[in-house]
């Protein structure tokens, strides 16, 4: 495979620029109840039905921490190969907004739960390490709905208080493609761990994107702008492309970049300044006096480490080493937990290489055509493995298998059933096949003579005729063998 080179640069009028990107990913913790209150976190509930007195900040209400959310964050930190801080502190981040009932968000500022770590990306041009600065736990805000009423906004606090993990990367990313891979990798790790469902449409995963540019060869970072609350990878990429070009234009015209917060406008595909943030935010962080410092036991960390499931990188290595798959194949299989689960379910019954092929070629074709994810696959892993097993056992040919596969898309029936019902079992009885071969040869005596005189291409014709007579069920390998003997 030809090795690509990294080549994302902005070609400005006055030179070549590179783009520096850092991401602050907000991932909703998979838990039943919220971080500091016992309301449910389920998506899609009626407005304000998953809200407690604590969530709506009534006088005298106090936070009580959800131990499971802490453990989920520790697991995520371990998945990022990061340092877990045994002592961390919850701080109040003070600001006013309609979806922030307390007038402050409980977050972590100076002493986060998780420290430095890293994520490894398999880019087309090689391996890329992306540094993680930190991960901390904080409350999510509620939602304001602005477009129902011209004069008023409507506030739903269902999401207020849900636990978020904020994962801050180092400014190591250099292109929209790297951002794509990074977010997908983070998402994949958390889905493997079961700590976040990574569902971007439901808002379980969103990011603030920090972008700056500098001339290639410069070592100093330029002034960055923060693009807030981008909730799809596609938008992140578009925002970065627009923002990088915007900054290059400004700098090449001799002006300076204003460090500011911006929003991605999904209608115009541009970024714009957030007008309401005229005054720089002074969050006045201080340790939350309603909570005590969080002191963790090393035993807990060790226990959680032991309980960690196999993560994508480890699984990939194992597939390459033990299953003899290529790095390319292994990568695809581990890219989503659902895919590796499907594969591992299949190989309980059938051959690994065949399983890989059938998943990455045949199944993916079907899924892509119908815009489905593997968890929505019309064919279950069990049934597909059953199909592949039949090929290995010689029960059906590869070609017949493809036909059965099509039929399975409609009904996800057990392929054994389909083969039986439609009489598609491969004909592998040499005596039967010999009969058919002799029949075909006797009907095409002129061609037999032509073949024996040197027109070897006619071999395929004979094979085709045998296949037709046998309605495709003849075992092609056996047919070949018998024909060869009989045509001598």
């Amino acid at each position: 495979m030809a090795e690509k080179k990294f080549d994302y640069f902005i070609n400005g009028e006055k030179g070549k620029w590179e783009v520096i990107i850092g991401l602050e990913v907000h991932a909703q913790v998979l838990s039943k109840s919220k971080l500091f209150s016992s309301s449910s976190t389920k998506f899609g509930a009626e407005p304000n039905t998953q809200v407690s007195l604590v969530d709506s900040a009534f006088p005298g209400m106090l936070p009580v921490i959800n131990q499971f959310c802490v453990e989920q964050s520790i697991k995520t930190g371990l998945g990022l190969k990061a340092k877990i801080n045994l002592n961390s502190v919850f701080d109040r981040k003070n600001y006013f907004y309609a979806d922030l009932p307390q007038g402050y968000q409980i977050s972590q500022y100076k002493k986060p739960l998780v420290g430095e770590g890293e994520v490894i990306l398999d880019m087309p041009y090689g391996t890329k390490k992306v540094g993680i600065e930190r991960l901390h736990l904080e409350q999510d805000a509620g939602k304001s709905i602005h477009d129902i009423d011209p004069d008023n906004s409507f506030v739903d606090l269902n999401r207020s208080g849900v636990a978020l993990m904020e994962i801050v990367s180092k400014p190591d990313l250099r292109s929209p493609e790297e951002v794509n891979f990074y977010v997908k990798k983070l998402r994949s790790i958390m889905r493997y761990l079961g700590t976040c469902d990574g569902n971007m449409q439901e808002g379980s995963l969103r990011a603030d994107v920090n972008v700056s540019v500098r001339k290639v060869g410069d070592s100093q970072f330029g002034t960055r702008c923060e693009i807030k609350n981008v909730n799809s990878i596609k938008f992140m990429q578009m925002a970065i492309e627009y923002e990088a070009k915007r900054q290059v234009e400004i700098l090449e015209s001799g002006k300076k970049i204003d460090q500011e917060t911006r929003l991605f406008d999904v209608k115009k595909n541009t970024t714009r300044s957030m007008r309401s943030k005229e005054e720089a935010h002074d969050y006045r962080y201080f340790p939350d006096p309603d909570l005590l410092p969080l002191k963790l036991n090393k035993d807990l960390i060790d226990k959680l480490k032991k309980e960690l499931p196999e993560l994508p990188d480890q699984k990939k290595d194992r597939f390459i080493k033990d299953h003899n798959l290529s790095p390319y194949e292994a990568n695809i299989l581990v890219s989503e937990k659902e895919i590796s689960d499907y594969y591992e379910e299949m190989i309980k019954e059938c051959d690994k290489k065949l399983a890989t092929n059938w998943i990455t070629v045949e199944l993916f074709a079907v899924l892509n055509k119908n815009n489905l994810s593997i968890s929505q696959s019309p064919i279950s892993a069990k049934n597909l493995s059953s199909l592949v097993k039949m090929i290995t056992l010689g029960k059906i040919s590869g070609k017949i298998a493809k036909d059965v596969f099509e039929k399975m898309q409609v009904s996800d029936k057990d392929p054994k059933q389909i083969v039986e019902e439609e009489g598609l079992v491969q004909q592998s009885d040499p005596k039967e096949l010999e009969k058919i071969v002799l029949e075909v040869l006797s009907k095409n005596q002129d061609k037999v003579i032509q073949y024996q005189s040197g027109k070897v291409k006619l071999f395929g014709y004979f094979v085709g005729e045998v296949m037709e007579v046998s309605k495709g069920k003849a075992n092609p390998n056996l047919v070949n063998d018998i024909l060869k003997i009989k045509l001598k």
């Binding site: 838990s31 039943k32 109840s33 209150s37 016992s38 309301s39 449910s40 009626e46 407005p47 304000n48 039905t49 998953q50 809200v51 407690s52 007195l53 604590v54 969530d55 709506s56 009580v64 921490i65 959800n66 131990q67 499971f68 959310c69 802490v70 502190v89 006013f96 907004y97 309609a98 304001s144 709905i145 602005h146 009423d149 011209p150 004069d151 008023n152 906004s153 409507f154 506030v155 739903d156 606090l157 929003l263 957030m274 007008r275 309401s276 005054e279 002074d282 006045r284 340790p287 909570l291 005590l292 410092p293 969080l294 002191k295």
Partner: protein, 95 residues
């Protein structure tokens, strides 16, 4: 440290409290006098001291991940100055 009128305006914006000129004047005086009183702390050297992190000598108590709350929408909205049956209603935010 005296607190001048511009500072009063700035912190009142952070605290979301509107003030008229007369109030700003009075507050500038009052706050400056309070700050003067507070600045007695400058006399003591605290370089080698750690700040108090908690008055209580105990570990942060946690709770199990169980849903035991919510589904009390009418209670939540009961005291709201302006509401409909489902939401809190507030004047529009200018973005």
């Amino acid at each position: 440290m005296s607190i001048d009128k511009d500072t009063v305006k700035h912190i009142s914006k952070l605290a979301r409290i509107s003030l008229d000129e007369k109030k700003i004047d009075n507050l500038s005086k009052d706050l400056s006098s309070i700050m003067k009183f507070i600045e007695k702390l400058n006399k003591i050297n605290t370089d080698k001291t750690n700040p108090l992190t908690s008055i209580i000598n105990a570990s942060l108590k946690s709770r199990k991940d169980e849903v035991k709350d919510g589904k009390i929408r009418s209670q939540i909205l009961k005291n709201s100055p302006e509401k409909n049956e489902e939401f809190f209603v507030v004047p529009k935010v200018i973005e």
